[in-house]
Symmetry: D2
Subunit: 326 residues, 4 copies
């Protein structure tokens, strides 16, 4: 059994994933995509940055778009349970020899910047400016009607190492894919907030950001988005789906933003708060693992990802091949 | 313009498509598929035949399963507007040199058997035993919750010829695909009952039955069917979809019954009763023609079909290739 | 049996309901309601008139808003099957002693104005300007995503008389409510185009227009409209629903426009094209007649309607009371 | 501000609501209701007890039906985070002078029975027999397709007292209704598991159980249930809905089981895990509080509830009246 036991009492308390910054080459094009197609709300806008939140969120931002010469993913942002958890986090990362620094982020309180075992930049904070709730201002709903950011998924050069690292931080594996030959992990889904995941890892050239996911109300909203994108000039940005994942049971769609940052539209996974929840194991060769309905993912889905700025990825150590669409 | 003008006053009045008989090798397996997955209701059952209807239908049958040594499609059944239309139909087919005969069909009144320009067996009737309505007996709903049979789609060795023949019968083209080089029809959708089609033709080895479609309430019922089939031993029977057709705008799924007879699950096309409705033209090379969202159909979808019993198909005359999934 | 037999071969061929003009007191307020909430598309706009169509329609207008000092309904518009049907219609109404005149209507060809047995103004035409299809321009979809106008419903002072009159015109009763004591009709649903109705009649002070209905894709679109209206200043315009009608099996919502013209949002009725379709009878005292789920309609629903301009209504002859919410 | 501050570090860690026992007079009738209409799965059945779970749950039961001479609600069951939390809970309740005992419950580990400030019987446990997951066995889905138990709602004779008591236990108020005159709480929603509530209180003769709620996938499943119940002999069991709550934003339906135990079918509330989430305040006189779409709840909804066995309710101290349907 390659999955470590759930660490019930971690050294510091990470509440949930929170936000990410995307470096984008054409700020106007990205704004159009994230507001008209995804349907995020602009909460602030400067010459080189746009802050966005989803309809149910009261924190100031879940996506920050920053104008840049090259497309990159910035640090993955996580909210902790209380101010003092930040200091515990700093100690924890220092103990593991990771660089830590306190950085300034607009609209956020004290923010710790550090990195994970493979160099993924991570950002922890407790306080973020709170905004009035717009959850029931239905006239504002657009695009796929995003309710909240749901999770990150990253390519990892060694998923076993990633899982061990995040498990120590208190992330718990809910589902995982094992390579039956090597008995090594090929992918794993790990949560803090009580869904299937806040963070997932997939075997591959890494670290890179595979995708960022948004939770939407129903599968019909995803179908509506497909109709909208395909008749508004975004048909080439549809990469995979719609479908039901075997893993997580979620209804999904994968699309690419104008810079190729991959966004998953996601709904209908399940509640995972029981401490004694048993992780579900999948075989890498099970076609229903990817898509319950049997359709394999396209090659691009296994190969393309966003680089983290300044982080050189390395090849995956595990050489195993999932089922790929021809 | 390769599409003939709508024949507003045809020689006889075909009301709508009505039913088809499938020859199946394992009657029990087929019954299970059509009642548990499709959700049709059994209206009669003998040792070698099962009669089925959809939830909204008051006629006795839309599908008849007949035990046989080989899988075939039987005659395509159409209901006419009145008893006397049958005699007009007989005259019309005789005039064109087609064989005609009056046959016995259980639960049907006078029934004319004949064939179209390429040999597709056709059956016309006016009276069929009427059954109590079960439309609002929601406890009976199963599977994909089929409301009514919607259309047939056939491979034709010469779509221009098929269209000309059915157009004379009063079927009107609502949408069509043209091969831009030869200016010949590659496919056409023709209706009588006021939707996009009762009958469609696709260029290919023919005549063969490409599929039979059922109308269902909403796209979510199709998603529910995918979940059900993929976890009930039918994952390999899912061929294509779900998706939105560019042509017809319908939300679709294609599945195969245990003998390979293809069934489309279909909803959300549009009303076509205006006599001055303009047909919509599509280019064979337009990827959104097949699927508005861009995904091409798999090769099997262009190649596989059901033979009509006793009818030898011949190769398509038009040699043109649509976009096919790799 | 109070329902006359279906007149299969009427003297002229009415195709379907088509449009209606509403006199409104505040053109800007009405425009906002019909474009933002209902989601109709403006096809022309002058100082005192706004023309609107639904997403699937290729004819120029289904609703015309006209600025006026008082709110009224104008003539109910119907499209006939061919130009020559208009002359047959003129003869038919003249024969019955009804006033007829040929009127000018922008964007329409020859248009016959006349009236029914109780004075409802009716307008028949064949040609209306055809517009490019926007059915698949999903970025234009707003509000409840209306696909097409579906039916009119009118208060009638004598439903038996209304039914006899329209039955002669070829409208066929699909469902009806009988007062069990008097054996008189309390309400009836009559179609031409193959759904449950193009025109319905309800016992009451009449003639008045009870409502005009729009067909929408799914029940979820109706739920979305409720969320939108109730948080955009239109909560008081929600009158009844959502619910499932026993009659017609349709999923419905009734709302009022700024002048009190009642609009039904409607989907999921059934196909009625079989000439031998048996009408369904309901008892006035059956609570599931109104709403399958049991909830009675509010009093306003039985009492409020739009006057036809210049037509004095008279009291209903049948004195019978349906179930009314307390 | 009548709502106490969130107690971030309570004396013991309650994970979530878990289960309840209903005393029912006709076990067969109740089984039929809970399996055919609600769609729960039987996990064990004896002569006088039936154990049920929802589709996503891996614990053995969320509802236990027990044959009895009178209909009552049993203890409300909660799962704690770890075995040792049970001992901390025992101490906590003893300190407050509440009776505590360790009881035997089939399929559960150590179980503490105690009561709240007004005498509601409460049951805490950590271990319950875990069952194989059936979340993706779609052929088992029936009725409204219940995914998991979501919350309890109780009448309280003094909501301020109830809120103070549970707040100390670590339940946090997410939304509340204040009587503007007395500045007292009329209702409050309190969560542990990260949704709008595990437990809610409503002013009224209490303590009594107002309802038990189940989470379902989408609003369409609720509409399907209405169609099913209203045509399967359960139309009189539909009490209120469907609708969107202003409070919680959830889509809801209230139905009564054969003994009058009220069940809410519920979906689409929001995530509440941020420690700094601001509670939302509603005015008792705001009609959109109850139902965003404006329809008031019927009188029965404010008056009817299930008695807890052996617990005498007393009148509410706050005398204030919400908007009630006439």
């Amino acid at each position: 059994m390659p999955v470590p036991a759930y660490n019930l009492y971690p050294d510091f308390n990470v509440l949930r994933l929170s936000h990410v910054e995307f470096k984008v080459k054409d700020l106007a094009a990205s704004k159009k995509f994230y507001t008209d197609m995804i349907g995020l709300q602009v909460t602030d806008e400067t010459d080189d940055r746009i802050y966005l939140r989803a309809m149910e969120e009261r924190g100031h931002h879940c996506i920050v778009l920053q104008k840049a010469d090259e497309a990159y993913a910035g640090a993955l942002g996580f909210k902790v349970f209380a101010e003092e958890e930040l200091d515990k986090a700093e100690a924890w990362f220092k103990e593991r020899g990771k660089p830590t620094s306190w950085i300034e982020r607009p609209y956020q309180g004290r923010t710790l910047l550090t990195e994970d075992c493979h160099g993924i930049p991570l950002e922890f904070y407790f306080k973020m400016e709170r905004l009035p709730h717009i959850h029931q201002q239905y006239a504002l709903y657009k695009g796929v009607k995003p309710l909240r950011i749901d999770h990150f998924n990253c390519f990892s050069p060694n998923v076993d190492e990633s899982v061990a690292f995040y498990n120590e931080m208190g992330f718990r594996v809910t589902e995982y894919t094992e390579d039956e030959e090597s008995k090594k992990l090929w992918a794993a889904w790990m949560h803090r907030k009580g869904g299937v995941h806040d963070m997932a890892f997939t075997n591959g050239l890494g670290p890179r950001l595979h995708h960022t996911a948004f939770w939407v109300p129903t599968p019909l909203d995803i179908i509506n988005l497909l109709d909208l994108m395909s008749t508004s000039g975004y048909v080439a940005n549809i990469e995979r789906g719609p479908g039901r994942h075997g893993i997580s049971n979620a209804f999904f769609l994968y699309i690419l933003d104008p810079d190729g940052h991959r966004i998953e539209i996601y709904c209908s996974d399940y509640q995972t708060i029981d401490p004694d929840l048993e992780p579900i194991k999948w075989d890498l060769k099970d076609p229903q693992r990817q898509t319950l309905w049997g359709a394999p993912a396209p090659r691009s889905w296994f190969e393309h990802g966003s680089l983290f700025e300044g982080v050189e990825p390395r090849a995956a150590e595990l050489n195993a091949t999932p089922i790929i669409a021809p």
